[in-house]
């Protein structure tokens, strides 16, 4: 693991940029632990101050320090992304492994449900859901619900991998020596699938954090909680641009771009690393 990381760092510029970006965002999130202000409290600092040494990202029209508020926002958004990824990974791994290994009718039924979820526009359904639960939707629950919708692309990828693993000699050896199918899928197939799972985890986080931004901007999430989306919501609510308080909107937008670029570059770098052909090309083989 350490060696892989070191190699990627050495040979892949994208991985280097991703590390720097993600570290920056991570440090910001960790700083939330030492924040002098409580994100739930408003009017603790003078309103609408432009960025300065005392307030690096300025202060908002709600009397909050944007820098320290953003530390909480980033922390919560990352938390949401990780939980969503975990939930949807579990479903994707289960569906992918089962459909791939079992084949036949099980495969066809699972894949047709899978494909329906791929095609379905999730946003209107999420809007309906969060509209009905408005005010009661905790971040954890939102993450959970998004996890229920975020698995189908990746389940298909995992299934495709298992389909080829199933034909390999070691699977047949395991079957002939009497290993149960559960043990084969978990012990023999899962390790092969894990790199793909990692790459898609990052991609899934991109999706869920972006989705949260969308729902928050519509005012459909718990807007009292700091996230990247709710920051934009409050800035819009106070017409930050019209009022000239541009730093209130610039902070979440710039941090979002850094976070998303970091995650995406990590995804594409790891994704290429998994594919041996591109790995050879990278080191000039």
């Amino acid at each position: 693991m350490w060696k892989v990381t070191r190699d990627l760092f050495k040979y892949d510029g994208r991985f280097r940029i991703a590390t720097v970006f993600l570290l920056a965002v991570l440090i910001l999130a960790i700083l939330s632990a030492v924040s002098p202000y409580d994100p739930g409290k408003t009017f603790k600092v003078p309103q609408d101050l432009p960025p300065s040494w005392g307030h690096p990202f300025g202060t908002s029209s709600r009397g909050q320090d944007v820098f320290w508020w953003m530390t909480f926002a980033v922390r919560n958004s990352l938390f949401l992304g990780l939980v969503t990824a975990a939930v949807s990974r579990l479903i994707a791994i289960f569906v992918g492994l089962t459909a791939g290994y079992r084949g036949g009718l099980v495969d066809r039924v699972l894949m047709s449900i899978n494909d329906s979820f791929v095609v379905m526009p999730v946003l209107p359904i999420l809007i309906l859901l969060s509209f009905l639960l408005r005010g009661q939707l905790s971040l954890l629950m939102l993450a959970f619900i998004m996890g229920l919708f975020g698995w189908p692309w990746d389940a298909r990828l995992i299934r495709a991998q298992v389909l080829s693993l199933k034909e390999r000699a070691f699977t047949r050896t395991a079957v002939y020596s009497g290993t149960g199918s559960l043990k084969i899928t978990l012990d023999e197939h899962l390790p092969f699938v894990l790199p793909v799972v990692f790459a898609t985890t990052v991609n899934n986080m991109l999706w869920s954090i972006g989705m949260e931004v969308t729902l928050s901007v519509l005012g459909l999430s718990n807007v009292t909680l700091a996230t990247i989306g709710t920051t934009i919501f409050w800035a819009n609510q106070h017409q930050a641009l019209v009022a000239g308080v541009w730093w209130w909107l610039a902070a979440p937008v710039i941090i979002a771009i850094i976070l998303f670029l970091g995650l995406y570059l990590l995804f594409s770098s790891v994704n290429e690393y998994i594919d041996p052909r591109t790995r050879l090309r990278l080191i000039g083989g």
């Binding site: 047709s112 494909d115 329906s116 095609v119 359904i125 809007i127 639960l133 931004v213 901007v217 909107l249």
Partner: protein, 336 residues
């Protein structure tokens, strides 16, 4: 022909009905799992607005709302009735603009969304694929390298943030485009050349941002597809035979990478639709996205419900249409 029907058409139609069945069932189940009773909520909202309402009227209202939401009878009966109303194209009246049917509101918003989305999707698909192929055929071209870097940078950013950035750049800092809407406030919707021109001018920025974001993924997809094809034997052979570069590019390289990109379009349509909804909210464009925002603002439950169902059916139908024209491009399906 029979084979084509059995192997291609029937599974596609089956998938189509599966999507609609799952989607409609989800929209049926979700409100019933919610701890909030939509009827009580609606009544609370009405009585909270201050006017004195006598208890008898509330009883009547409760009856009427229960009827309207289809909450009478056992869950299974409700479910059947739900389908019955849908099949008749009845999504109930909107609550915020009572008694305008939800169907009418959607019919008013839909053409805007379809117009914007269709143009943007077609342009981004064509341009993205063309540039993607060019980039892998001419890997040293500086312009293609620039587009490559830009696509990689733009692709992961969520639609909302990207649209906001473009709005700030091109309507606020450098005011080339109008700030919001599809036409100036107060203009009547009509089919004169002048009106169409204003609409085009107003639609340019939303369409452009959809194209910029959409193009990236087609570019990257096409580039990686064609990067394998350019070293195939038949391409090398065509080069040695002295065919023109244009001929090689279009008939040998792009043609062979096109099919996965058409399938990709069908698969991404749901995501693109999501993006278009957000885009409209940012740009104040009077389509389905704006309608959603209005519904959320006005607490219009039946309108949100209608939009959710209609979006699922709409996207599923577009995917089906794409699937049906796919054989035109794929000789293997045609000659099975």
């Amino acid at each position: 022909m029979r084979n084509f029907l059995l192997r291609y058409l029937i599974p596609r139609l089956g998938q189509y009905f599966m999507v609609i069945f799952l989607g409609v069932t989800l929209t049926f189940i979700i409100p019933r799992l919610s701890p909030n009773d939509p009827v009580e909520r609606q009544i609370n909202q009405m009585t909270m607005s201050g006017a004195h309402v006598n208890p008898e009227a509330v009883m009547h209202l409760r009856e009427a709302l229960t009827e309207m939401y289809g909450l009478r009878g056992s869950p299974f009966q409700q479910y059947l009735a739900y389908w019955g109303r849908l099949l008749r194209g009845d999504l109930g009246p909107s609550l915020s603009t009572f008694p305008t049917p939800v169907m009418d509101l959607i019919a008013g918003a839909l053409p805007w969304t379809i117009g914007l989305l269709l143009t943007a999707v077609l342009i981004s698909w064509f341009v993205g694929n063309l540039f993607g192929a060019l980039a892998s055929y001419y890997p040293d071209n500086p312009l293609m390298r620039l587009i490559d870097v830009a696509s990689q940078a733009v692709r992961p950013i969520p639609y909302y943030v990207m649209a906001l950035v473009m709005l700030i750049l091109f309507a606020y800092i450098v005011p080339i485009f109008p700030f919001s809407g599809a036409y100036p406030v107060g203009t009547r919707v009509q089919l004169t050349p002048q009106f169409i021109l204003t609409v085009l001018k107003h639609s340019a920025l939303p369409a452009l941002s959809l194209v910029v974001i959409g193009m990236g993924s087609w570019f990257i997809g096409m580039k990686s597809l064609t990067s394998n094809i350019i070293s195939e034997d038949y391409v090398v052979y065509a080069e040695n035979a002295g065919l023109s570069e244009r001929k090689i590019l279009f008939s040998y390289i792009i043609r062979n990478a096109l099919l996965p990109q058409i399938t990709g379009l069908a698969l991404q349509l749901g995501l693109i639709f999501n993006g278009a909804l957000i885009m409209e909210v940012v740009f104040g464009y009077p389509g389905m996205g704006m309608l959603t925002l209005q519904a959320v603002m006005a607490n219009d439950y039946s309108l949100i419900m209608g939009i959710a169902i209609f979006s699922i059916i709409g996207v599923a139908t577009s995917v089906l249409i794409l699937d049906l024209i796919y054989p035109l491009f794929d000789p293997r399906v045609r000659h099975q």
